[in-house]
Symmetry: C2
Subunit: 150 residues, 2 copies
Amino acid sequence: MTQTLLHFEDFTLGRTFEGGPYAVTKEEIVEFAREFDPQPHHLDEEAAKTSLLGGLAASGWHTCAMTMRMFADMLMPVAAARGGIGSPEGRWMKPVRPGDVLRLEAEVIEVKASASKPIGFVTFACKVFNQREQVATIQMTPIIATRSAT
Amino acid sequence: MTQTLLHFEDFTLGRTFEGGPYAVTKEEIVEFAREFDPQPHHLDEEAAKTSLLGGLAASGWHTCAMTMRMFADMLMPVAAARGGIGSPEGRWMKPVRPGDVLRLEAEVIEVKASASKPIGFVTFACKVFNQREQVATIQMTPIIATRSAT
């Protein structure tokens, strides 16, 4: 079956996509933290118990990275994506724990066509959930080719 | 020499801190992309040449993670930091390439005391530079204990 790729014009305000699952492991939490965010509550179970997080939890930037992976796996196969320009906002609301299984709801909240190139910027509000509740909102602004570009 | 830790009250608007360096390698760019952002322009030199980035470059989320590492190495030894709540904004302005050496200028742009706990939220605008120019602005909001907490 051939599938027509989604282009900039197809990302209308309010359109929603779903991504995931992403299984969070203790090993990955510790590995990411050791490389990029070596705070005790991301590295050490004992130290984490007395932290504000109340137990070992992923770096917020690790949650962003896991969300990017769900987002890419969701969008790349179906859209004419060309990279990204940033994240207008990221809020880490609840701890992301070892054993959590994350999923993604991504809603188009802003669209802006380039004035000079056959591309546009589509901002998604990505709500990230574990099995029980929302744990983060992370906005993503991928670059999507317009229909005239292809 | 003993050093008094910086507390929430010490982070006055406009106060600036410097971090880095962080040496960017091709191996790390590809490893991060394979795990979290598997777009061709972060994975493959040939595919990257014809992309909007014009050559292999780090995932924007990898730039965020490298910035977090510079930020943590800068702040953790000197401040009563207790984690973070998010990033009000991240803008990826220029490609981050293999061989780049990044550095950080972090300016306090907003401070907000907790109404209920002996902590406060300090937002930094982190300007990230390579050897030639600014490549990103990434905001960070760590939680810092107040002086009364310790």
